[in-house]
Every structure is written in C-alpha cells, then in structure tokens.
C-alpha cells in the first residue's frame, strides 16, 4: 500500500529531516509514527501527500511512484489520502455539515450524493446533534471529529493523521484514537504521527520510531519506548 525506498529529505536550508528511510505499510494496517520533536514525523506525512519532494529515493502508494506524477495529478493523489492535523483546519464560516460537504463539492460530487453521504458520516463520528453548529461553538475534540469526518468523506484508502490529539486532553484524545481505530476497522489504512505515549502503549499497534530522521525501531505490536 505504502512503500518508502531509501528516502532522504534535506530541506532547502540544509536540515536533514529524513535519512535513507525505507519502510512498507500493508493495506489495512494501523501504524503509529513516534519520535521526539524534529525527528521527521511531519516530513514523512508531507512526503506522502506530495507536499514536499524527497531529495532522493522512491515513494510508492498503491504501486504508483508518486515522485513521477505531475503537478496536475496531485489532486487525484490526495483524493486517495485523507488527512487530519493537530489544529483541525476547519473553515470558521461554515457549519459542521458545510465543512464536511465542502470536501465532496471539491471533488465535484452530485448534490444527491452529498445529501446522502454527509449525514451518515456525521453520525459515524457522533456529531449528529451538532451538524448546524459552527466550529467556534465546538470543543477541540468535536472539531477534530469534524476534521476526521471530512478526511474520510470521500472514502480514501489511506488516512494520515499528524498529531491528531496534540491539542486535546487525554480523555478526548482517547475518543479520537478509538475513532481512528474504528475507521481502520472498516478497512482504511491509518498512519498516525503522535507523541501520545499512553495511547500508543495501550493500543499495541505497529510502531515506527524515528530519531533524527532515521528509523530507530519498527515493531509489529509495540509501545512508545520499547527496548530494541
């Protein structure tokens, strides 16, 4: 599903974010990417979204080398990848419903499809009662649910999350994580970059630990700080 082969990313200012990283993620996997600040987690996610280009190495998604796709094709790559961030990135002027429907309008779905799909996804993330609320009327956890709903509304095979619980209290963080697990259970490959030690330890999923741009550890069912 996702494959990095000897990927190195050196930013224009010379900082080496990833050094010769190789990894494979299978379809339907749930993967935590952990590591201290500056270890390269966000860079990894940006590479998968083709937001930044690798300095060297290949990145394959669904056996397609994304280094070779043109600028014009990027939108179609991104339609296969849902993404959520620490800061939710909702549109303040749109309601919950509109924020989610927006992602479908962008891919030119029909109004009928939108009317049918959006309420279902809203209910899946447990926000049916808040469909008409604006983001500033929601708690952080609720906002992240909206962001998650938006990320999966177009049914992408892959969901990326860059510190999705970074702004949330532990209890809410748990809710979001279990929602991610639900999404994964429905067949979506999920990659979560996170600092949330307790959750990683408790969930016993695959953990890829980065340190200064290199893979320190890659364990099938591990915790945040497992010995090598």
């Amino acid at each position: 599903m996702i494959s990095l082969q000897n990927v190195t990313k050196i930013y224009d200012n010379g900082s080496q974010a990833l050094k010769n990283v190789s990894l494979d993620i299978e379809k339907g996997e749930f993967v935590f990417v952990v590591g201290s600040s500056g270890s390269g987690k966000s860079t990894l996610i940006k590479l998968l979204l083709k937001e930044v280009e690798p300095t060297s190495g290949n990145i394959l998604i669904n056996d397609e080398n994304i280094a070779q796709i043109s600028r014009k094709e990027i939108p179609y790559l991104r339609r296969k990848i849902g993404v959520v961030f620490q800061d939710f990135r909702l549109l303040p002027s749109k309601t919950v419903y509109e924020n989610i429907a927006f992602a479908m309008q962008v891919v030119e779905a029909t109004p009928r499809e939108i009317r049918r799909t959006v309420p279902a996804v809203i209910s899946m993330v447990g926000l049916s009662k808040k469909a008409k609320a604006y983001p500033n009327q929601l708690s952080g956890g609720e906002q992240q649910r909206v962001a998650l709903a938006r990320a999966i509304i177009n049914k992408p095979p892959v969901l990326l999350a860059d510190e999705p619980t970074g702004n949330l209290d532990p209890e809410t963080a748990w809710e979001i994580m279990s929602l991610l697990k639900d999404i994964n259970m429905r067949g979506t490959t999920v990659v979560v970059a996170t600092h949330a030690k307790e959750i990683v330890d408790a969930m016993q999923k695959r953990v890829i630990a980065l340190k200064k741009g290199v893979i320190l550890r890659d364990v099938r069912e591990g915790g945040y700080n497992d010995e090598i």
């Binding site: 979204l49 937001e51 014009k72 939108p75 179609y76 790559l77 991104r78 339609r79 993404v83 990135r89 909702l90 549109l91 927006f102 992602a103 309008q105 962008v106 891919v107 030119e108 029909t110 109004p111 938006r150 990320a151 177009n154």
Partner: protein, 369 residues
C-alpha cells in the same frame, strides 16, 4: 468539461466572496472604472483622429490647371479622360468665375481681387479627389500621361495642317491645274517638296515637345500636395502606435492594481485554499470562484464608465461643434453609436479580462501547497 453544478458552485462562491469583502470589492471596482474610463477616453480621441484624418484625406485633392488657349470642347475631352483614371473618386470642374469666387471667400484682402471680373486671369481647373492618399502617385502619373497625349495630339494636328498648307502652296507655286488639290488625299506617307513624309514631320515635332513646357497646354499644371498626403499617412501611423502603447500601459497598470486588491481577498481565503488542496481540489476548481469574482469586478467596473461616456459623448461633441464653429466646416466627429458599438465590447473584454487575469495571478502563489 466542467460540470454545470461546479460552474454554479463557482458563481455562488464568487458572488459571496464579492459581498464578504465588500470594501475591497468596491475599491477594485473603482480602480477598474478609472482604468476603463481612461481607456474609453483614449479610444475616443484616437478613433476621432482617425475618422477626421480619413475625411481630410479625401479632401486632399489634385488640382489640374487648364491652359487658357484650349477650347471648351477640349476641356470636356480632358474632363472625360480624368474621370476614367482609376482611384479617382470625383472630378469637379472649376470655371474662372468659380475660382474668383473661391478666392473672394478665402482671402480677406479682397482688394487685390478687385476689378478682375472683366479680365479674369485665374485659370480653369479640375479638382480631383482620390480614394486614398496612398494612390496619389499613380493618379498623378496617369494625369501626366493625359497631359502628354493631349500635347502630342495637338502638335500632330498642327503639323498636319502646316503640311497641307505647304503642299497646297507648293502646288500653287507650280501653277498646277489641280491647285485646289483635295487635302483629303494627304496621309502620313505623303511627301513634301524635300521628300520628307508627313509622318517624319510629326515624329520630329513630337520629339521636340516638352523642351520649354507645353505649347498647347491642355493641362498646363498639375498641383498635388504630396507632403500633405505623406504627413497624413505619418500621423495615422503615429496615432495607431500611440493607441496600442496606451492600451498596453493601461492594461499593465490596472492589472497590477487589481492583482493587489484581489490578493487581499485571496489572503483572507488562504485557509480555505489550503484545505481545498488537502482534500484534492484541482487548481482550476480553486481558481474558479476567484475568477468569477474578478470577472464581476472587471465587468461592473467596465459597464459603469461605458454607460456614462456613451451618454455624454454626443453632448460633448455638440458643445465642441457649437463653440468652435470652424470645426463643423472642416470635418465631422465620429458618430457616437458607431464609436460605442466597438468601444463597449472592447471595454467589457478589457475589464473582464483584467479581473480574471488579476484573480488568476493572485491565487497562483497559494496553489503551491
């Protein structure tokens, strides 16, 4: 192919963008208005200069002066020939009296024209009008040919007459019985006493033509204001170039102002663009609403000055015609309906294009995510 609902989405978003940033939209509309106004004014000026030059061009004629000694019959013969010259649109005969009348009207010092009625020294002439000043040279060449032909013809006739007379004289001298020799019998091959044929006499006389001007002078002078025609052509070219430069400069100035205005609305929507990129919107989908917004700004900004200038154009022309009365006698201004039939579409395209171009440029930076 863009889906209809997408187009609807773009239009709805674009219009809502206009109203969300009301002040900015207003500023942009005013900017476009100012630019389109200047564009319309310069187009009006340029077009009128062209229109007036065209009129003056047809008024630059060629004057063909007729010798005093030729008969009225010859004059109408020459008139006929002049009318047959190609590129000549009109031939106007000016009699001696006409010439004097014209002189009276156009020169204030009437005194020096006084007393000329009895013995009018002014020549008869023709005024020729040509279709375009570019053809002046060809027409003059043709007139010169008519001039030459007429002269040759007259010289030939004269030589023939002299020849006949000399033959008759000769026969008389010889006291011949048939002294009243029928002159019809004489032709080009007839010989005189010295054995020279009439044809040879004619040739000699024709080759002598032109040494000191034309003796018979059907046309004794051709007067054409070559320099006026040249400078008209030059003015037309200059006007053309200036108008092109003006439109380009206006385009650049107003595009940069619009870019800066729309940049602000784009900046406000930066988050929105970012999110659209993450959920897989194509560049054109993101540009759509901004293009609609820019088009609206541009077209509204163009319509208003179009309407204002269209209604005031005829008024202004009337005022100029009334206050500067010589203008009316020399030329006419371009009629408003004709002028605005092309100024309005140009302005709308200019305004709309400007708006769309401004939006596309403003969004460009934010698409690189």
């Amino acid at each position: 192919m863009m889906k209809f609902r997408t187009l609807k989405y773009h239009i709805r978003q674009g219009i809502s963008g206009l109203f969300k940033n009301r002040l900015m939209s207003l500023a942009a509309v005013i900017t476009v208005m100012a630019c389109v106004f200047i564009l319309i004014i310069s187009l009006c000026v340029v077009e009128n200069i062209g229109y007036i030059l065209d009129q003056l061009e047809t008024k630059i004629g060629i004057s063909v002066f007729i010798g005093d000694n030729i008969s009225d019959k010859d004059v109408s013969f020459i008139e006929q020939k002049l009318k047959e010259v190609s590129h000549v649109s009109d031939v106007k005969y000016i009699s001696k009296d006409d010439a004097l009348e014209w002189g009276r009207k156009n020169f204030n010092g009437k005194e020096f024209l006084a007393g000329l009625e009895e013995d009018n020294p002014l020549p008869r002439s023709f005024d020729l009008f040509i279709d375009s000043s570019e053809n002046q040279r060809v027409v003059i060449d043709a007139i010169e040919k008519i001039q030459r032909d007429f002269e040759e013809d007259s010289v030939s006739k004269k030589v023939e007459e002299n020849f006949k007379n000399s033959i008759i004289q000769q026969k008389k001298d010889e006291n011949s019985e048939n002294a009243d020799l029928n002159i019809e019998q004489i032709d080009d091959s007839s010989k005189d006493a010295d054995g020279v044929t009439l044809e040879e006499h004619k040739k000699a006389a024709i080759s002598a033509i032109g040494g000191e001007g034309y003796e018979y002078a059907g046309i004794y002078k051709i007067s054409a204001p070559q320099s006026a025609a040249d400078s008209l052509a030059a003015i037309k070219n200059t006007v053309r170039i200036i108008s092109i430069i003006l439109i380009i400069v206006m385009g650049i100035i107003s595009t940069s102002i619009i870019i800066n205005t729309i940049k602000l609305t784009v900046l406000i929507r930066k988050n929105e663009i970012n999110i659209m990129k993450y959920v897989g919107a194509t560049d054109w989908f993101i540009r759509g609403p901004f293009i609609v917004e820019g088009l609206f700004i541009g077209i509204i900004g163009a319509i208003i000055p179009c309407i204002i200038s269209w209604f005031s154009y005829d008024e202004i022309i009337n005022i100029i015609n009334q206050d500067v009365s010589i203008v009316k006698r020399l030329f006419e201004f371009s009629p408003g309906s004709e002028l605005f039939a092309f100024i309005i579409p140009i302005s709308l395209i200019f305004g709309g294009g400007l708006g769309a171009l401004g939006s596309i440029t403003s969004v460009r930076k934010h698409l690189k995510v």
